[in-house]
């Protein structure tokens, strides 16, 4: 029976064609993989396979250029929006996007990010927010929740000592240069569909020259949080969504 179903005419879902066969270095259950798949699908749907330039950050996604079969440019830590600005201004017909984590975008690259968004550069920024520095061993990030335990705040983040979580997406929604600011997640089938729509909208808006967009994906880092992938998703739904409420914060793409 099963053998009869497995035939090319019955295919309903497979790994995106733009995703290489290279095994990804991400930990089991990492949200990065899902977002990579969404980017690959959206780029293929737009027919921009040969005209897309991604800018990788420093962080876990530093090897993104190995996994997606599009053009990539590596940027210095946090400087992805600045590099993307240059690429987009030289090549306005290309789809130029950046793919950054929270340590890269909200900490060392906060200035570049805010100014690129405020200038209204036609670049979408994909922001993976997992509230921790995953690659370097789980240190506290600007986005770490109050009370959350990390390697550098082992007794939980305290506002008196460490300050408050930085809500960069909220901040970006008040900038005049942005056209689309949204916060999504990729933990369930429904949320993945929504996240894909958001990425498509932002990519389309950038090609239509409507301004910059920021797509925050609230993600898990099960290694950094020291949980199983399934448990990490549950923890994210219980704790992260309270601080980082999902939904569109700004959408002027229809104007």
């Amino acid at each position: 029976m099963t053998n009869r179903i497995i035939a090319p005419e019955n295919l309903v879902y497979e790994k995106p064609k733009l995703m290489n066969d290279t095994a990804m270095h991400y930990c089991p259950g990492c949200s990065h993989g899902v977002v990579h798949k969404l980017v690959a699908e959206v780029v293929a749907e737009m027919g921009m396979e040969d005209k897309t330039v991604g800018v990788c950050p420093v962080g876990c996604a530093v090897f993104a250029y190995r996994y997606l079969d599009i053009d990539w440019q590596e940027a210095a830590h946090g400087r992805a929006p600045a590099v993307a600005t240059g690429v987009k201004r030289v090549w306005p017909d290309r789809l130029v996007f950046t793919y950054q984590g929270d340590g890269d975008l909200a900490c060392i690259g906060a200035a570049e990010t805010i100014h690129a968004l405020n200038r209204g550069e036609n670049i979408p920024i994909i922001f993976i927010n997992n509230a921790i520095y995953g690659m370097t061993g789980g240190q506290m990030a600007p986005t770490t929740l109050l009370g959350q335990k990390t390697a550098t705040c082992p007794f939980g983040r305290e506002p008196d000592l460490h300050g408050y979580p930085l809500n960069i997406t909220e901040l970006a929604s008040h900038l005049k240069g942005t056209c689309y600011v949204t916060r999504q997640s990729v933990d369930t089938m429904a949320s993945i569909a929504k996240a894909k729509k958001a990425i498509r909208k932002a990519f389309d808006a950038s090609m239509q020259g409507k301004g910059s967009s920021l797509i925050e994906i609230v993600s898990t880092c099960n290694s950094g949080w020291k949980m199983s992938p399934v448990k990490a998703n549950e923890w994210m739904r219980e704790n992260m969504f309270k601080e980082y409420v999902k939904g569109d914060l700004k959408d002027t793409t229809a104007l």
């Binding site: 029976m1 099963t2 009869r4 179903i5 497995i6 035939a7 019955n10 295919l11 309903v12 879902y13 497979e14 790994k15 995106p16 995703m19 095994a23 990804m24 991400y26 930990c27 089991p28 259950g29 990492c30 949200s31 990065h32 993989g33 899902v34 798949k37 933990d187 369930t188 089938m189 993945i192 569909a193 199983s228 992938p229 399934v230 998703n233």
Partner: protein, 77 residues
């Protein structure tokens, strides 16, 4: 009456055994292969109960590594 039947193929060497697909599957089709690991030393999933699969693609969509290919067809009974 016709029925929708599905089938999945897991790229076991790509699978890291994160088990997100096991939770996502509404029909409890998928389970970890018992006492087996792949070339990278990870445990991997397989269709433990393939007859129950309806081809909804939930497992494949949530899979971070794109290991699962889904097929679906109408079967006359």
């Amino acid at each position: 009456m016709s029925k929708i039947k599905g089938a999945i193929v897991v790229d076991t060497d790509r699978c890291k055994g994160c088990q997100l697909c096991i939770v996502a599957c509404p029909k409890d089709v998928i389970d970890l292969a018992q006492k087996k690991v792949n070339v990278h030393g990870y445990p991997y999933v397989e269709a433990a109960d393939p007859d129950k699969c309806i081809g909804c693609t939930a497992c494949a969509v949530v899979c971070p590594d794109g290991c699962i290919t889904v097929y679906r067809m109408k079967v006359e009974e």
